[in-house]
């Protein structure tokens, strides 16, 4: 009875809030229709860019949520701990190479990695998997091959992307070290709900599947929305021609290409076509674009911020940039 009394004010507030929220959403639609965004060029461009980023990314988030829910309901607790029985030097490369089997882009790999860590996989291995899967999977490697076909640097780019992607993912996993999942993952209200349900009469497997799939989609979707909004704003107002001024400058060209990958927030399954077009930049800078982009960009930053603790996100960002920069500079020395 006390529980019912305690929850009643929340429910009342929610009902009122729901009405206000629905009203505001309807108002936004009517306002947009009346404002006629075609008269305001930047607004029209922003809405088109925001829409396109969300439309291309959300199906991948849904696929990731589907995979995550399947792991939750089908993989018994402890199965993933078998990876920990491998000799320590092999654990992280094995986690990275597991990404070869997951043809999903970076938006889909975040919920999968989160679920893997929550289900008992070592956090360092989960992070290595999360960073490696969008770079190493067959679709991405195939698209890299197609994009650079006919170039003298073809195998440098295809092999380099695979190897440098794996090395960077393993290096970041190594930096994560022995941190526990509680040190990495932000607690989620949905998780508490899910556990709350599990403490009572257990729900059927199909019900838990759809609950987890929906929760993951809604959770990742909100951060994707934030990241896509930032990326669309930058793309609407930033003249991209300014980045070309640094092409050919040692080290700076690599840094700029990593920065550009962060800003553009492209999908890993198509970013090779964009990288290939930066003919003013050398293979090392293009490779830095292809390796760091699927690991750190604006939309991913928002997803990471919602999934992991803030300090950990910064650690991943710095480690990815540092490892990619060092790797790309080595390539520059070796390949010219």
């Amino acid at each position: 009875m006390a529980d019912v009394a305690a929850t009643r004010p929340v429910r009342n507030a929610t009902s009122r809030t729901a009405l206000v929220v629905v009203g505001l959403v309807v108002l936004a639609a009517v306002g947009l229709r009346l404002a006629d965004p075609s008269r305001v060029a930047w607004m029209q461009a922003f809405l088109i860019l925001l829409g396109s980023l969300l439309i291309v990314a959300l199906p991948f988030v849904a696929l990731g949520a589907l995979a995550s829910a399947l792991i939750e309901v089908l993989v018994p607790i402890g199965t993933l701990e078998k990876l920990a029985r491998l000799p320590r030097p092999l654990q992280l490369p094995a986690a990275g190479l597991a990404g070869v089997a997951f043809p999903i882009c970076e938006c889909g790999s975040v919920p999968v990695a989160r679920r893997l860590a929550a289900r008992g996989l070592m956090p360092s291995a989960a992070i290595t998997f999360m960073l490696a899967a969008p770079v190493l999977n067959p679709v991405v490697i195939a698209s890299t091959y197609v994009a650079f076909r006919g170039r003298t640097a073809l195998w440098t780019m295809v092999g380099g992307r695979f190897l440098l992607g794996l090395l960077v993912a393993v290096a970041v996993g190594w930096v994560v070290g022995n941190r526990t999942k509680d040190e990495l993952l932000r607690p989620r209200q949905d998780d508490r709900h899910a556990h709350h349900v599990e403490f009572g009469p257990p729900e059927a497997r199909w019900r838990r599947f759809f609950l987890h799939m929906g929760n993951d989609f809604l959770f990742m979707g909100r951060y994707l929305l934030l990241g896509a909004t930032l990326a669309a704003l930058v793309q609407t107002f930033l003249p991209t021609s300014i980045v070309l001024r640094v092409a050919g400058a040692p080290v700076l060209d690599i840094v700029v290409m990593m920065g550009l990958a962060t800003v553009l927030s492209l999908c890993s399954e198509s970013d090779a076509f964009i990288a290939a077009s930066f003919v003013q930049f050398g293979p090392a800078a293009q490779l830095a674009f292809l390796v760091s982009g699927p690991m750190v960009d604006l939309k991913l930053g928002a997803l990471y911020a919602g999934t992991f603790h803030k300090r950990f996100v910064w650690m991943v960002v710095v480690a990815v940039f540092a490892a990619t920069l060092v790797g790309a500079m080595w390539l520059k020395v070796l390949a010219g």
Binding site: L66, H193, E203, L211
Partner: protein, 252 residues
């Protein structure tokens, strides 16, 4: 405590507890509605063909995939939304759900539109696309061949060999303050994945009737082509207004 421990077994043998009737979980229903809204948007884009305004032909397949996946997720969540102990739903959650629906509403309310002169100015001479080496060697010239010439030496050489050939290009009119009255830039966006990676193919059209075409008007230009280094000129023999193509963006 004992009841809690054996609750699973009790639930299987007694599916309905008389004292605790099932109720709709507002959290699950609300979430299902948000997912359904996105599923609805994907179906709308797929059925009306408006997905062409946001994606390239390479990635357009994600739209039906998204529509089916999200519809299944919404229906499944709704089917599992009646529970004995509904989860509490806080006001913050409702606001977030509302925010997640806003892009759906905006895309639905936005009249069919494409990037125009404003974005062309921001992207001129910058990000490129999948360069088709030597693509301008044979067959009718396209604006993709022109873009290749503007981004690669081999493309430039291939296009130079075809100077003086007749072309037919469709694009939109772009003008800058210093553009002469009898000229304009014919522009078309090239999209590899989604509009976010759009870059431009642009030719300077000369010998145009002054004052006949406004910025962002879609036109078809015919005439001989003259590549001058990275700048490409078309001496217009005819310029006609046309409606925006069904696929306004080119895919390399």
């Amino acid at each position: 405590m004992r009841d809690a421990v054996v609750a699973g077994r009790v639930a299987r043998t007694r599916p309905r507890e008389p004292g605790r009737p099932q109720a709709w979980s507002s959290s699950r229903v609300g979430g299902a509605m948000v997912i359904a809204a996105w599923a609805g948007l994907f179906w709308f884009l797929f059925l009306t063909g408006r997905d062409d305004l946001y994606l390239s032909t390479r990635t357009i397949w994600v739209v039906p995939i998204g529509a089916v996946l999200l519809m299944a997720a919404a229906l499944g969540r709704l089917a599992s939304a009646r529970v004995r102990t509904p989860e509490p739903m806080h006001a913050r959650e409702v606001w977030i759900m509302g925010l997640m629906v806003v892009p759906v509403v905006l895309v639905l309310a936005l009249p069919p539109a494409t990037l125009g002169t404003f974005s062309a100015g921001k992207r001129a001479g910058a990000v490129g696309f999948a360069v088709s080496v030597g693509g301008a060697g044979s067959g009718p010239l396209t604006l993709i061949d022109v873009a290749s010439a503007q981004f690669s030496k081999s493309g430039e050489q291939a296009l130079a060999k075809r100077a003086g050939e007749q072309v037919e290009f469709v694009g939109f009119v772009t003008r800058y303050p210093d553009t002469p009255a009898d000229e304009f830039l014919l522009t078309r966006f090239i999209v590899t994945c989604c509009v976010a990676d759009a870059t431009i193919a642009q030719v300077r059209v000369v010998n145009v009737p002054p004052g006949r075409f406004e910025t962002n008007d879609w036109v078809e230009v015919r005439g001989p082509i003259y590549p001058l280094g990275r700048e490409v000129i078309v001496n217009a023999s005819s310029v006609e207004a046309v409606s925006r193509p069904d696929r306004p963006y080119l895919t390399p």
